[in-house]
Amino acid sequence: MIANFGFGVMTVTFLVTLYSVFAAIYGENKKIPALVESARRAMLLTWPLLTLTAGVLIYLLVNNHFEVQFVYEVTSRSMPTYLRVTAWWGGQAGSLLFWSWLMSAFASLVTLRKWDRDREFLPWVIVVACITMAFFIGMNVFFENPFAQLYQTSAGVEAYTLQPADSVLFTPQDGRGLNPLLRHPGMVIHPPMLYLGFVSFVIPFSFAIAALITGRTDDRWIRITRRWTLWAWLFLTFGLVLGGRWAYDVLGWGGYWGWDPVEIAAFMPWITGTAFLHSVMIQEKRGMLKHWNMLLIILTYDLVIFGTFLTRSGVLSSVHAFAQSAIGPLFMGFVTVTLVTSVGLIIYRWDSLKSETEMTSLLSREALFLLNNLMFISILVVCFWGVIFPMISELFTGQTVTVGPPFYERATGPLFAALMLLMGIAPLSAWGHSTVKTIGRAIWKPIVGAVIVTAIIFVTYTRNVYAIIGFFLVALVILVTIYEYWRGANARQKSQDENIITAFWNLTGRNRRRYGGYIIHLSMMLMAIGILGIELFQVETQGTLEINQQTSVGGYDLVYQDIARFPGPDGREVTRAVLSVYKDNKYLGELNPRIDYYFDAQQTMTIPGQRSTLKDDLYVLLVNWEPVSATGATFKVYVNPLVNWLWLGSLLFLVGIVIAAWPDKDPERVTVRAGKHVGQTSAAD
């Protein structure tokens, strides 16, 4: 009964989104403002309706309603309450509903903004947001109903939305339980973050399409959505980082990123989103690249849908799974239709999107940003090709192939290095015009500094060529950024008679986007240090140890002390080992790698014992595929140098983006004033 109510509310929401689309189009075409207003209010209604739908689903999840197929699949009696709530996005049907719910929240938020100056965008923003929502809610209503219930018929137990004739409701004693991999705190936050990033990119896309339809193709749509895009980017980046952290802590393979197609699916919109964030600045400052910005936000939107499709359709396991799944072809159809329509709109508005000014110098800021876009798009091509190559190969040759990390690392490595180099040069170039001489004058000090740092690293740490290039670029970007900061603060200190700290503070406060961006650059470099460390210097060993026996790796000595097996919370059995860690004969502490066996899901999890410092991570796994006996156990030990800089970098990233996206008191006036100095300074903004 309650499940049917949930399904009913969800169906009504679907109809409301459809109404909103039609009312907005009809109202706009027939010039009936009341109808457009009605569409706006209908869109506002979607969030409370979907919140009610989600509330019903959570009620069913928390109260063990195993007669509901989704509840049966993702929960069990032994699971704690908070995990039953988060099980909402632990399965396909629930995660699609979660997507729609977040989307409706963003759509409502955007509806509540002041529309006075942009009234003509409103109906089309409603149309795009509601079509997207209708698609996702439609998936739930017609194909992946989270409220479908189990019925016993003569043919067996099957899930149905409506009770079939001659059937009785079937309630299993217990559920199958959430996949243990998804019971980690990281998994509680990672999907919401990623989905937030996904859905929030729909907002700039909606405005872009509205701009194309209305013909108001100046940079107004970019200025309106600038902060939306930054927040979207924040969520997506954090979603990716949290996913990496979760993989590091839970998957038990000693790394944070495996170039898995699912990871790449989430990474691709990030790539185009990042390129977009840079290239919109060219349009704002110079009135150029209007076609390109449109194309980038369209690509980002469709990669968001494509990413959800890749992870939800089963196509990644096999192209045949794609044909079996009903939602696969629909997703593909939706991506195709939106892509073709959007690109068609760009072609329709081609002339009004022409550049207002032209490129003056190959070393100008805009030229370097264009190169940055070339690198990002090349990385996107590598990723996209890597993901679809196995499908193409299977379709055309019948031969299934695997595209693993070596392909991606080899193909993207030089592109990432080029991006870092650009990150070092671009902040020193000016909008409009720069020469080798002007950039050279600004960059020679940071270059000398970077060479000294690299020489020290060469003498004391490594002679690996890739590492040397990588650390040189990291040092260059960090020094250029600090130099830029120092130059600005110094000038301010002199002109405004401020002390250096106040000067730094005010400098950042007066130009948040520029200096927030610099902090983000710095954070990326900290992450790069972590990535270089673990990718190039990871060492590992594996062996079976008896009690009191020792193994050594990367300067650490580990002595196996003890092992114990005991029942743990959440219906699992824990096998936990004790190892003492020594370095240079000095006792450093104890590590407790463990294996958790979940009875309900009949699955094991390998949780590492970790000792983290800024220098390295000692990461020990109790290898679960070797028999554990009273006398011996197999351990896999990794030393992951510098990896914690990756997590540290992500925290600094958060600071940078909050600074960059912090609302100005009066954004319009600040923008106008900033425009005055274009071409005179090297303002990155």
């Binding site: 038990g252 799974a321 032209e358 003056t360 031969q399 695997t402 015009h433 595929w625 425009g675």
Partner: protein, 165 residues
Amino acid sequence: MRKLPSQISLRITHYAIVLLLLTTGFATSVLAQGPTPTDDEVNKIAKQLYCPVCESTPLDVCPTEACRQWREVIRSMLADGKSEDEIKQHFVEQYGVRVLNEPPNRLLSYLVPVVAFLLGSFILLRSFQTWKKPIASKAISSEGEAKPVQDGYIAKMEEELKKIK
């Protein structure tokens, strides 16, 4: 509850692999010569292989029974004095090229990204050339003149608005 067909076929595949390994792999290990290779030596090769069942999990960290058997095959082949390439080839012959972590035909897999990059660079270079030609005075003058006019206009507008208030 009925099991999904894919789950059943997954399990059957796993059992089939184990059975095949028991007959082929262990038969060779009986005849193994020399010292037993270490886990690290086994993992060095296992890292580069994927079993056909476990999605996106390299063999060296895969916890399934079938993958454990694969690693034992690698160990016994190493003990037999087989080289890394011979061992990889053995798995390719048994299970197809998908066990490798990279497509065997590298040219095909790298062709599209490389062509795309070159094409992108070409388009960019052409754009730079066409943009650069007519420019110089025009853009700079538009930069220098248009903005102050606009700014003056805005300032005037703001003043007018203040008066209205």
